[in-house]
Symmetry: C3
Subunit: 351 residues, 3 copies
């Protein structure tokens, strides 16, 4: 059980210009308004919610500077200009407190090949393996059981989660987060069928994966290396859990790919593309910058216009897709109406 | 190659009230009726299948007490009241025999931080890492390469598979099974776009994941920790392979989530919800208890009524969805009929 | 950064019958025609592309024997009969050079149970765990952190990637590639609901997984063991990343399963079946040999005819599915036309 162990004064000191009222409570946790328990700190985003939460006791509420708040005894009140802005600041401090960066140093159990460079300012956890020619920058954290292949380079300040696998020649930029169990740099999925031997023969995959700065990816993703050249994840792109990215894919800057998205080989996504969960993109497809693709959409032809919204299998413009989804439910009715029309026409013909 | 090495007598002794006939065979494996080989033990669920399998030799058949079974020489027959019930009992014993629980003890290679508690009745496999403040209960098994973060607690009798990752503060209940490669407790996928720096800024994720008792999950799942408070997997819920569960999700008791299901952030599933493979649920959606959602369905609006069945993208009531799926194939015909009607009306107008 | 460090002469010597022209350049990388930089080797598949790339400098171009190529000074030209065939041969050599097989030997950190057999001609990386009764053949490579359960057998020449997990009794054939993070042999997902205890009770899963020769699978796949008997992956089948395969599934020979495909329990795929990304197949479905199933398709009834093409949810014949997808976008128009027809009929009735 997590316990923050914070005082109201401490928390208030993190919110410039704040004012404390009421009884001091010991803060044990931060909670959303609908799950309040004694000891919780809660940020109220709008004065209209004040009445709903005023009945709690033993909680610390962060509210607007000038809101009328009927405070029950036994609660704390912290008044600030913008409670939501204050929340982000406080949560950031709490996150750093609860998930502190480990101290630099190399655990005795690691296996580091001769010819690998590890910065003295890096942290290397237990049972990490680093192959020859790899280069690990300042402030990098390699968590337990991470595997760093030959000639991999990892930029300053990047964190690689437990059990992640970086295949040979992968380049990771600065300040990235590679989640636990992520696999980068496996050979792309390319075969040609050989009739003589009645078998699929692997096409050599001699490229690499390059991940630019500030990219973050969740757990258990898989990113293949290119057939030739590179698979590229652009600067600042954020990738959720269990995402699959094929060989030779180019992903632009500041894209958002939600859980279980699948990107086939040689796809090219422009900058700022956003994809909901379980979207799939067929091979060699190009998606224009700022496109927004709804969850579960299947993109099987190029999207050329910037900033459009899409949904459906195959992808349609969002407003068309929603209209179709709604009309499709009325297909049974439509068939009946057409039957009826045919009947009437036939009757008229016999008059 | 697996070899059970069991005698007919041994197996019969596991089925109370059973009666043995025919020649004793050495039992090497258990098989289904359509794949029988000499040495196989086979449970026959219905007397109508007896004729199909009677031609085999060297097998041991479990049949009903009073069925007429023309037994060929060289086969064994075990008669019981309910062959299917007997099968479950026998298979349970065989499963425990073939996949025995390891003896308690801590492998010499493990790295356990000062301040972590590990019960002397727990089993900790090779290369496991346990961080400070973690608490490992009686009878817990941590398989090879498991990673247990700071302040994680794991209840009595839970098994954590090889290469699984439990992030800091995760709480796992009693008698759970966490599959190999599962990742729990990574930060939720939440960003706000900051125009000033032209980048996505991570929203702090300071909550945790709580998994109640008797939850089981398959391989390579990913479950994110909450933004505040907790992501919750309810008691007795069973989760298949490669399932993604976002931050702040609440999953009820005794739910069934099949392979590759994806649950977006802040979703709330009631108790006894069943989801087929590859179902996706959009963020903040609520699904009523006992809902049954067919494979590949996309749920993008709340399901309020208990016990309904749904299918399609977006989700429709199952009977509507099946009717629509069937009519949709007839769209080419429908367009033709409407063309025809228009033609006839036009002709009539000209008469 | 990867640097090949090859000379034009060396590369040309790998292409029988080749002829070198122009200035010798130091070859640093292999690139596709649209991303050429100085030092790149590039294979031109068709003479029509020659004009586009002729403007580059410091590159080495592989072209047809008799093509007219206006070669700029500072470039190398290698002439061969079939540039694309030459490319595969050269890339294969480069792949073996860049990703060399490790030398045989067992890393000192491994944990190998008494009673496991490891060929002296196998390679076992750091922190690998091999349980009792396992058998590791000649030329097998077990990469770092791989887990090999009890009684697993791995055939000659197979490679098991970092962090892969092979559960007890799994049989892997010869010359297979098991990707990083793959999990094979977890219990199948089978429960029966027990009203008395209000809970799902696991059905024992006492079978195994058998993978035939020359099977390859990508990263983070999950394959469950059978309830009884075996889950089977047929010879030469190739499986992409993040694929889920349930218990008792039989997959034929030389199938292709793209990224994130999900195969439910007891499915049977014939030989040479090809599935695009994110295809899902419902339980107990049979798919005929040589079927081709487009990405995102949901197969919920048997496919009996060999060699058909399918797409959609639920699966339809491809040509029907494409026609339906196109007409479905015109549903708003169709509803309008039927409204109009009804209006006209009504008007006529009143004439």
């Amino acid at each position: 059980m997590m316990e923050l162990g914070l005082s109201v004064e401490m928390v208030a000191s993190w919110m410039p210009g704040s004012r404390v009222e009421g009884t001091a409570v010991a803060i044990r946790d931060i909670a959303s308004p609908d799950h309040l328990q004694p000891g919780d700190l809660c940020f109220i985003g709008d004065r209209k919610y004040v009445s709903e939460i005023a009945g709690n006791t033993g909680v610390c509420l962060v509210v607007g500077s000038d809101w009328e708040v009927p405070i029950a005894s036994g609660n704390s009140l912290i008044r600030v200009a913008d409670p939501m802005k204050a929340m982000i600041e406080v949560c950031l401090r709490v996150e750093r407190m609860l998930w502190p960066m480990p101290d630099p140093g190399i655990h005795a159990s690691t296996v580091i090949a001769a010819g690998a460079y590890v910065s003295p300012a890096a942290t290397v956890g237990p049972f990490v393996v680093i192959e020859a020619g790899a280069s690990i920058g300042d402030g990098v954290v390699l968590d337990a059981h991470a595997y760093v292949g030959a000639h991999v380079s990892i930029g300053k300040g990047t964190r690689v989660g437990p059990n992640a696998v970086l295949g040979a020649y992968t380049e990771i930029g600065k300040n990235c987060i590679i989640g636990p169990g992520v696999v980068i740099g496996t050979p792309g999925f390319g075969y040609r069928f050989d009739a003589a031997t009645d078998s699929h023969v692997a096409i050599p995959q001699i490229g690499r994966v390059r991940v630019e700065d500030c990219v973050e990816m969740g757990a258990n993703c898989a990113i293949d290396r290119a057939r030739v050249g590179e698979s590229l994840i652009g600067r600042g792109t954020k990738i959720d859990n269990l995402v699959h990215i094929g060989h030779n894919v180019k992903i632009g800057k500041a894209c958002i790919l939600c859980g279980q998205v699948g990107i086939s080989g040689s796809v090219c996504l422009g900058d700022y593309v956003v994809m909901g969960g379980q979207v799939g993109v067929g091979d060699h497809i190009r998606v224009a910058p700022k496109s927004q693709i709804g969850g579960k959409t299947g993109v099987i032809s190029n999207i050329d216009e910037e900033g459009g919204k899409y949904f459906g299998i195959p992808a349609m413009e969002l407003n068309v897709a929603l209209r179709v989804a709604s009309l499709q439910k009325r297909l049974p009715e439509l068939f009946k109406r057409v039957n009826q029309l045919e009947q009437e026409i036939r009757n008229k013909g016999q008059e």
